[in-house]
């Protein structure tokens, strides 16, 4: 049988191999925050409504509060720490700084990762597509205007 009981989970986190021992129903949000000490993943609602816990799994956006850790066995997980290369911030991160798109910053990693997933899928989305795609994420500070401006500035530069 190709199936097996899964206890030890191995995955690649931002290009580094990680091995964790987790109970079967543990969610990735808790594994990353509590066992791997990645604090850029935020707990907002725990039920898929805010996007603060967004990560990329094999490049696709996943809400880590709705993702079982056992399901990322053998996969690539990216958090916002994995975006900068050789000390250089990712263009989306730079755009967020240039456009003051973060205030308290609680939602920021989720927005940046979601935007990366969108642009990897569609390098030239319309403004409406950007709004629609980001609508799964909430920000309680900025009123979204600056986030949208930052996003559109990245689209224009491509």
């Amino acid at each position: 049988m190709s199936s097996s009981k899964v206890n030890i989970i191995r995955f690649v986190l931002n290009d580094e191999p990680v091995e964790v021992l987790v109970p079967p129903t543990e969610i990735l949000l808790n594994t990353l925050r509590e066992r791997v000490n990645v604090k850029s993943i935020r707990y907002g609602c725990g039920e898929g409504s805010c996007g603060a816990c967004t990560v990329l799994v094999d490049g696709k956006p996943r809400l880590s509060c709705l993702t079982l850790t056992i399901s990322v066995d053998g996969r690539d997980v990216t958090t916002v720490e994995g975006l900068s290369k050789d000390g250089e911030l990712h263009p989306i991160q730079k755009a967020f700084i240039e456009h003051n798109a973060a205030q308290c910053g609680y939602c920021t990693p989720g927005f940046i990762l979601l935007l990366k997933a969108l642009l990897d899928r569609n390098p030239n989305p319309s403004r409406d597509e950007v709004i629609d795609s980001l609508s799964s994420n909430l920000c309680r500070c900025t009123g979204y205007k600056n986030i949208l401006e930052a996003a559109m500035s990245v689209v224009r530069r491509r």
Binding site: M1, S2, S3, S4, K5, V6, P23, P24, T25, I27, G46, E47, G48, G51, T54, K60, P61, R62, L63, C65, L66, T67, L68, I70, S71, D73, L114, A117, L118, D128, I131, D132, S133, L134, S135, S136, N137
Partner: protein, 284 residues
Amino acid sequence: MSASCEVYAPSDLKTALHLKSRYRDDLHVVAGGTLSVRLMSANAIETKNLMLLERLPLSFIRVSGRNVQIGAMTRLIDLIDNRLPKALVLAARSVRGLSIKSMATVGGNVFSPSPGCDVATALMALDAHLTLQSMNRKRSVPLEKFYRGPLKYSIRSNELVAMITVRNPPQYSTFTKLTPLPNSGPTIASVAIALDVNKREIVRRASVAVGGITTHPYRAKYVERFMLNKKLSNITLDQVEQGLVPKGLTIIKDANASSEYRERMVPVLFMRALNSLVKEVSRR
């Protein structure tokens, strides 16, 4: 969670069906996880054993002539595909945000109660059939007959939904929903219409599904029968209104809308959907 919870992530359907037949209701199936993991985290279901479906080769869209086969593990984002009937594309597009669209599966959507059943509503208007598979048997069930009551499905404990099929769908279809957010968002009510008309715009085939107001979508059969042999642009709201929400239905309510509001919005959505089809037909 049971102390001896076993976890399986089979990569072939045969193994998955073998496990389902061995554990039956003691095996909790996780597709995209947007509903099932939420229920697990809230301790709303007792997790005995787990089977993750995501490694199964059930993520596909096959279009052959006017027939469409969609694997149960196909993500909603992949339904935004111009080869598919428009109602299905619009329903997938209306699901809130890129993350949920990228996680949620079509198979999971047919189980998901309102307000989370937009794609199922479109599929119902398109007369979709589910392929339910067990170790020894494959059977096809019309989606409409799949719902046997709130959260009661016509599926046996040894079966999985393997595929959804839309055969020879009507030429025109659309989906419209009301949400409290300006763009895609949680459903207050939705209507999907699929129809064929002849050259004189006389309706030759019509199906109407209503979603978001009862636990699962339903077909407005009276309206479908009424529309037959009528000129599309002559159909008015007062002719069909009473058949859109038949008496005796239990209408849901939540933080986004009361039952009364949901019920009142169905005729509005029906007319929006109908008018968009009238325009589309007149442009052909």
